[in-house]
């Protein structure tokens, strides 16, 4: 079965067009979080971290909710599927559109974090921890995206959102116990450990696997209602 990438592009642009305000809103909240993070006080640091994590998590789950669950609940899927669109093209467009909607604010926030860490009072040594955390959120997002796309179930989507978010705290604790991270947290020198490389690599491979598995599963579907 051939895939018409022009059709996929039209569907991605449609989702981008429909959700521009959401993306702008999350970028705005991200900028607010970065501004607070850069403020030279301990409370601002913690508050900024919490805001940025919340924004990244919310941006992803909001995108999944409105583009996949929302389209099903609002019964716009039959409208799209009545157009000359193959089920796989629809699924592929959903994956790409979701990644774009999530990764645009995510990238803006990551760039801001790197810039702030390297240019302000924030210890440069914490940057590897920040980046590992950001990649963890991408992996969590991709898992929930795949589950939602395949199951088309709000219940399963929420269940996995809860599970991956519960997993964030133990991940932070375990990572901070690792000497490769905790011994450099307050250092003014940027440090990048092999452990960080391994963790990021594993998470990025898992991210790709989740997405490819979801796409392959959807490629076998003949219909999408």
């Amino acid at each position: 079965m051939t895939t018409d990438l022009v059709t996929v592009k039209k569907l991605v642009l449609k989702d981008w067009d429909l959700h521009q305000k959401i993306i702008a809103g999350y970028i705005g909240l991200g900028i607010l979080g970065l501004a607070i993070l850069g403020y030279p006080h301990v409370w601002a640091f913690y508050m900024g971290c919490v805001i940025l994590m919340t924004v990244m998590i919310s941006a992803g789950f909001h995108a999944i909710n409105v583009t996949i669950i929302g389209e099903k609940k609002e019964q716009t899927t039959p409208f799209i599927m009545s157009l000359p669109v193959r089920p796989f093209e629809y699924a592929l467009a959903k994956i790409v559109a979701n990644l774009v909607i999530f990764l645009v604010p995510w990238t803006a926030i990551v760039v801001g974090i790197v810039f702030l860490t390297l240019t302000t009072h924030i210890p440069d040594g914490i940057l590897q921890f920040f980046l590992v955390m950001c990649v963890l959120l991408v992996m969590n997002y991709s898992l929930v995206l795949t589950i939602t796309l395949v199951s088309e179930s709000e219940g399963w989507s929420i269940f996995f959102m809860v599970i991956v978010n519960i997993a964030v705290n133990p991940f932070i604790m375990l990572t901070l116990r690792n000497p490769e991270f905790n011994q450099h947290m307050e250092s003014d020198t940027f440090y990048w450990s092999d452990d960080a490389t391994v963790m990021m690599s594993v998470m990025l491979v898992a991210t790709v696997l989740f997405i490819v598995a979801g796409a392959l599963r959807q490629s076998r579907r003949q219909t999408f209602i």
Binding site: L18, T76, P84
Partner: protein, 294 residues
């Protein structure tokens, strides 16, 4: 004349409903009304014809394309609107028209604007502010302006107020004057079907009860009023779909009506008082009641 729709032995099973080996053909240029009560299988049939759901067994060809495998080729020339299909609430009609135009080179912008004016639809108003009738008209505008060769409409007039209903029927009637366009539309309103269709298919409980030209239906069915002592349990000819006693009279709904039918009734000792033509709605109800007994 080639068939634009060919369904053969199509079955689809859900937990509480099955479509039972449907055979259906629609010749090019013909308008067919698919009539059935809620849950008869009309929407499932139409969704299979659009490739939106896949049949469990049987073959489906639409515009010469096998479904669901060749759904993209088929959908290029099908205009589909369904009662439970929604447009994007936070976008206006102009946005939807642009979106449709990007998919269909045949999009006729001037016709779209003509329809918008005729249906009194604002192009720059978000659809969340539209009434149900306006949303139905907007859906019709979006599919008609593509000028498709085949229209598949699932309950296009359901939930419309009388004025909106009349406007939609009027526009559809105008569109249907194009002899190259074929239409299959479902409804539980026989009045709408009678106004628009050439042929009629009764669907009940996932089965096709009857499929014929509307004139043939009207010619074949009669309500026969008789006098006599026919008991409820008496064996009636198989073409008597319904019997109801009313005082000393017996009312019979008879399919394949003709002189032999009258003779059979006389043979049973009944005196035929009156023979009346039936409306499509009465024929539909008689078909459904007979279908329930089968």
């Amino acid at each position: 004349m080639a068939n634009v729709i060919e369904m053969s032995g199509v079955a689809k099973t859900y937990q509480h409903f099955s479509l039972d080996h449907i055979d259906l053909t629609l010749p090019a240029g013909e308008i067919m009304g698919l009539v059935g009560v809620n849950g008869a299988g009309k929407s499932t049939t139409l969704r299979i014809l659009m490739g939106l759901i896949a049949q469990d067994s049987g073959s489906v060809r639409v515009l010469g394309h096998a479904l669901p495998d060749e759904q993209v080729a088929a959908k290029r020339d099908i205009g589909f609107a369904s009662e439970d299909m929604r447009l994007y609430r936070h976008k206006d009609l102009q946005w939807h028209m642009g979106f449709m135009q990007s998919f269909f080179p045949t999009w006729d912008q001037s016709y779209a604007k003509h329809l918008a004016a005729k249906f009194d639809l604002a192009l720059d108003q978000n659809l969340k502010g539209f009434s149900h009738g306006q949303r139905v008209k907007a859906s019709l505008l979006l599919l008609l302006a593509r000028r498709p060769g085949l229209l598949i409409l699932d309950e296009p007039t359901t939930g419309l107020d009388p004025v909106a209903r009349s406007e939609v029927i009027e526009e559809l009637a105008e569109v249907l004057t194009d002899e190259n366009r074929s239409v299959l539309f479902s409804s539980h309103n026989t009045h709408d079907v009678e106004q628009l269709s050439d042929t009629l298919t009764f669907l009940h409980d996932g089965r096709v009860l009857a499929s014929e030209n509307i004139e043939d239906f009207l010619d074949k069915w009669r309500c026969v009023r008789c006098k006599g002592d026919l008991a409820e349990g008496d064996l009636l000819p198989p073409n008597v779909a319904e019997m109801r006693r009313s005082g000393s009279l017996v009312n019979l709904k008879v399919d394949n009506f003709g002189e032999p039918s009258l003779q059979m009734l006389r043979d049973k000792g009944l005196e035929v008082v009156e023979v009346m033509r039936m409306t499509l709605e009465e024929i539909f109800i008689a078909n459904v009641k007979r279908g329930r007994l089968q």
